[in-house]
Symmetry: C2
Subunit: 346 residues, 2 copies
């Protein structure tokens, strides 16, 4: 018999529950999932969709005989949960979480839980616009990355168990330090969240919003979609990863200032602006077509360049777009651009 | 017999062609669509998918007997096209375009075409990530806004014809001045484009990109999707609407600076940050649920507020999130927040 406690039964917690049910589909009676949520209706819905088997009225009830505890609440709520369950946790229990930031989570675990608690931090990088148990599904984690942040003293069984959970949910596991995780997600997840929030906010504040909202097409909706993120999740992320996020907002502002400078007072032949836009589009196409990770050689590796790439670096696109250029100046520019493009990736 | 010339047979031009074919599906022989594109393979594909009937090797050939001319090339290419067709245009021809900016288009029409040319500017606010004739479809404009910018002296038949074309394509027509159009789309369309371009660009430039690209989930992909926009289209937009775009980038940077200021060094009870995030999310939900245009009363109209709204304005969410607050201070804050929230919309 395996007892699992899910504390926080929203989109992520319920999706993990549904996946656990699937893992045990051939021996359903060997698994009991106890669910707790601060909001009674949320845990009721989780039971209705089959994500938990029994509803508990306190986190302590949920964990009292647990083999595994999954903390799936918003980040700041986890501090309280960890304190509450500290004395009720069975020694056997393996504990993980699904929070968007990891440094603070580890700090609270170190502070409130016994030293040898089998804790392995986790962050499934999955989500969607809809929230809550009704949006949960067994396919939510399919193909997603699931970052694990073991403690220095995490036992091998704890790491293996949490790793297997992530894999059985269909995710690909990446292991890193909590601090490393938080600096990465600041760029790839929290900056987009803040960028979308600010973008929606400034456009919404316009006097012309009634007209603007009518004109909003998919481009605006996609770019600002993250502004619909759960407010508690977004706030907790900002609070628990503030210095990394501020760092990336600063880099983003610098990028916008650069782009703004190229656009301002632009004549029809602003080569730098065209190159900036074209280079970004071209790199984005590589990314969109699946060139990710270390195998993504990028612009710094000119050996394997396809013809289209060479054409770009040698200024083919630019020449075509902006008209005939002075031959000598072009040669100088080729050299400079190549160096500049290479620097982007080194 | 109706002769239509489509100059530029990419995604938009080909989608208009397919819609025209559908409009004439009961009398197919009464319509001939002549297609021209700067790129031979693009117009060949347009013919293959049935978006044009005949391929012409020059814009002049395409328009020589045209009843209607549709300029569907990137903005800057239209200046050249307008000059080329100026002397070949039949007096009967009604001309429209589909470009993303309108002020410059009108300037070129005024400059190069005869005074009484039946021109009505147009901008179907539709698009998708894929480009070219193979991505075209009759449903591209379904439910989209299609802005018309008539000239001061546009004839009624010209306006009606172009309006009918847009409606038959499934779009909803909005009429405005070219300048008004350009200031609106700068906020709702061009700012998101530049925001996505800068966002992708700064994250891509990180040394950690190999790891970041592996961690990128739907949030990052959606927020940066517009960075994949056609480079010529994006560049042309920047060049022909630069002052409006710079204005909106400045507002956006100011919004980011404000958000950054709230996040930096944040303690666990930064009420202003929570309110900023929660207000944006709440307003976004209204928008996402279809509250657009004048009927969208927003926060300034407190008469019809739902209970949830009052709860928010009175600080219910915030109180719950951030804990008990001093009663007097709360009352003062309620007043201030209400005023601040009202100012957002007036």
């Amino acid at each position: 018999m395996t007892n699992v406690a899910i504390l926080g039964t929203g989109l992520i917690g319920s999706s993990v529950g549904l996946n656990l049910r699937k893992i045990y589909e051939k021996r359903p009676k060997d698994l009991v999932i106890s669910g707790y949520d601060k909001y009674g209706d949320v845990v009721s819905r989780a039971k209705s969709v089959g994500a938990v088997d029994r509803i508990t009225s306190s986190p302590i009830d949920a964990v009292s005989d647990a083999d595994m505890v999954i903390l799936a609440a918003p980040v700041l709520a986890i501090e309280q949960l960890v304190q509450e369950i500290a004395n009720a946790l069975p020694a056997k229990a393996i504990i993980t979480d699904t929070a968007s930031t990891k440094t603070e989570i580890h700090r609270w675990v170190d502070k409130y839980l016994p030293e040898h608690t089998g804790f392995v931090g986790g962050h499934p990088m999955a989500g969607k616009t809809e929230t809550g148990p009704d949006a949960a599904g067994i396919d939510l984690f399919q193909g997603a990355r699931w970052v694990l942040t073991p403690r220095v003293n995490s036992s091998e069984p704890a790491v293996t168990t949490v790793q297997n959970l992530a894999k059985q949910c269909g995710a690909e596991v990446m292991v890193m330090d909590p601090e490393e995780h938080d600096s990465y997600v600041a760029a790839i997840s929290h900056l987009p969240l803040m960028a979308a929030t600010a973008l929606y906010s400034v456009v919404r504040a316009s006097q012309a919003w009634p007209e603007l909202s009518l004109l909003a097409a998919n481009g605006f909706k996609d770019t600002t979609r993250l502004a619909a993120s759960d407010r508690d999740m977004a706030y907790d992320i900002a609070v628990t990863n503030s210095s990394n996020i501020v760092h990336w907002i600063d880099r983003y502002i610098a990028g916008l200032v650069e782009l703004r400078g190229q656009i301002e007072g632009t004549e029809k032949s602003n080569e730098n602006l065209y190159r900036l836009i074209a280079a970004t589009q071209w790199e984005y196409d590589l990314f969109r077509n699946g060139k990710v990770g270390r195998e993504e050689k990028g612009l710094s590796d000119t050996k394997d360049l396809e013809p289209g790439m060479m054409d770009f670096i040698a200024g083919g696109w630019v020449k075509e777009k902006l008209g005939q250029m002075d031959k000598d100046a072009e040669k100088r520019r080729e050299q400079t651009d190549l160096e500049r493009l290479q620097r982007r990736d080194v």
